[in-house]
């Protein structure tokens, strides 16, 4: 099942041994999208790595940037202001909804329910428009940077965000009417790709795949970051650990994300949107063109970067796919000595041979969709 295949969600190669229709062995071959991000990170300054992190899971860039920024801020001991926390949370949750919408679109389309794709992408366009208003880019936003966020959100953004989350719950109900109780959908997803509780932990699954097996582990609750300790939300859990449970969980996560965004919009504090640390954060842009010292300050920060003290840190964040972790080792320079990206899709994909062994060829497609992989993250 070669790297060029509409249902493998990217360039994934599976070497299958089949006995008729039953899968006897499945070997994934990855690395087709390997771009050497970890090697690149060793020569770029810390701020320059932020756009690199966008490109890991390119469907939910807000979360990737957030995970990286929190790791570096922990390494440097920086505190971001409250407004930045709330803005980051809103962007992270919008990215989560956008990623889950696209996941639902491709998962359903692979299994055969193509209409869902047309419906969910319509709502995803609204989110991408919101991102364009806020940051200028639709997909790879690079909005969260070290010390805060890149720009303040205009009032129009909050109004449109509010409108969006008012219409979304009804749309999610629409998607459910299409597939949730559809006989074909249930036949293709119930009881497929079952991973029991202990095995899910042993295989290192995270995110929806882990919670589908009933393990209550969500990093937003376990080790809260950004504004997640100040908002209320539930973490849906599954029972059987099959493809259907993972689908139900992710749809419910979308509803919880709406809840989080609503609370963040209501509680949005005023104040600065980035930390005021001259050694790290850029000066206000209107001053840069006005006096020479600010221009020099901006120039030095952009061209050389800032130095980070010696140390090492591992921080994990809950991105839509699971736990995205950054292990950053610093030796006192302007680039990290080593940046390891623990990507959830890479670890979750390991479980695929276990899920499909003995099942039919068509179940592979359901299982790949339910693990929710993005090859950009698998290969980095």
């Amino acid at each position: 099942m070669g790297p060029q295949h509409p249902s493998t969600h990217g360039v994934l190669r599976l070497v299958l041994e089949l006995d008729g229709e039953r899968v006897m062995s499945c070997k994934p071959y990855i690395g087709y999208l390997h771009r050497g991000s970890e090697k690149l990170a060793e020569v770029k300054s810390y701020q320059q790595i932020v756009p690199l992190t966008d490109r890991f899971d390119y469907l939910s860039c807000g979360n990737n940037n957030l995970a990286y920024a929190i790791a570096v801020e922990k390494l440097m001991g920086i505190e971001v202001p409250e407004r930045a926390d709330y803005l980051r949370t809103i962007v992270a949750e919008l990215s989560r909804i956008s990623s889950h919408l696209l996941w639902l679109a491709t998962h359903a389309a692979d299994i055969g329910a193509v209409t869902v794709l047309l419906y969910t992408l319509r709502e995803r366009e609204l989110i991408l428009d919101l991102f364009e208003l806020l940051t200028g880019a639709r997909l790879t936003v690079s909005y969260v940077n070290i010390g805060g966020v890149r720009r303040d959100a205009p009032k129009e953004f909050f109004d449109r965000c509010d409108e969006f989350i008012k219409i979304l719950p009804a749309k999610i109900d629409d998607y459910n009417t299409l597939i949730m109780e559809n006989r074909i959908w249930l036949g293709r997803t119930k009881g497929i790709g079952v991973i029991p509780y202990d095995e899910a932990i042993d295989w290192g699954l995270t995110g929806g795949s882990l919670r589908g097996s009933g393990v209550d582990y969500d990093l937003r609750k376990a080790i809260p970051y950004a504004a997640y300790d100040r908002v209320e939300f539930d973490v849906p859990l599954g029972t059987h650990g099959d493809v259907y449970d993972r689908y139900i969980i992710r749809v419910e996560e979308m509803r919880q994300s709406i809840r989080i965004i609503k609370q963040c919009l209501k509680d949005m504090p005023d104040g600065p949107y980035k930390a005021d640390i001259p050694a790290v954060t850029l000066p206000p842009k209107d001053r840069v063109m006005a006096d020479i010292e600010t221009l020099v300050h901006q120039f030095v920060l952009v061209s050389k970067g800032f130095e980070v003290q010696k140390g090492e840190v591992y921080v994990g964040c809950e991105v839509p796919k699971g736990e995205l972790g950054f292990y950053i080792v610093s030796d006192g320079g302007t680039s990290p000595l080593r940046m390891k990206v623990r990507s959830p899709s890479f670890v979750n994909l390991q479980c695929l041979p276990r899920m499909v062994y003995g099942r039919m060829l068509a179940d592979i497609v359901s299982c790949i969709g339910s693990i929710d992989i993005v090859l950009g993250e698998v290969d980095r």
């Binding site: 050497g36 042993d202 290192g204 972790g325």
Partner: protein, 162 residues
């Protein structure tokens, strides 16, 4: 449980294996000797008070020109208790082998393959140690410090002669 308490328990059970410990930004680690890594990991996983049933990550860091050159790093987490610990095992360049922990956690399989692919550290006891991100016949280990950032020097001939 406080991570330093866990390190003390390891020291008690495996005397002489813990050669150092440290902490930074309220995250702690233990430096272990190479000899009994798999046994220590199994103990950490199975002891009910520690219960590090979740291996988050296995990776390596190249500290060239320091000797020992590499350090294999394990990030552990306990779902039940919520504590985290890092284990660091220095590995020499001449004898770049270490025990595999795939028998303790199944998830270590691909992590160790990636560490082998990128650094050349061999994991003894791994069921299928081959390259994972680079093509199977690639030469060289990309994440080592002496590997050029631009990639290997090759000449590409779009229109070969003859």
């Amino acid at each position: 449980m406080d991570p330093f308490l866990i390190i003390e328990l390891i020291k008690g059970k495996f005397p002489g294996e813990v050669t150092g410990q440290g902490s930074f930004a309220s995250q702690s680690w233990a430096v272990l000797g190479k000899g009994r890594v798999a046994d220590i990991c199994r103990y950490l996983k199975e002891d009910p008070d520690i219960k590090m049933d979740y291996l988050i990550d296995v990776t390596a860091v190249d500290y060239m020109p320091r000797a020992p050159r590499f350090e294999v790093v394990y990030q552990l987490h306990s779902i039940k208790h919520g504590h985290r610990l890092r284990l660091k095992v220095p590995v020499e360049e001449k004898d770049a082998t270490i025990q595999s922990v795939t028998s303790v956690w199944r998830t270590a399989n691909w992590h160790e393959r990636e560490t082998y692919d990128m650094f050349g550290i061999e994991f003894t006891g791994h069921p299928e140690l081959r390259r994972i991100l680079m093509p199977d016949d690639w030469e060289g280990f990309p994440l080592r410090k002496d590997y050029p950032i631009e990639g290997p020097k090759w000449t590409f001939e779009p229109w070969p002669e003859g």
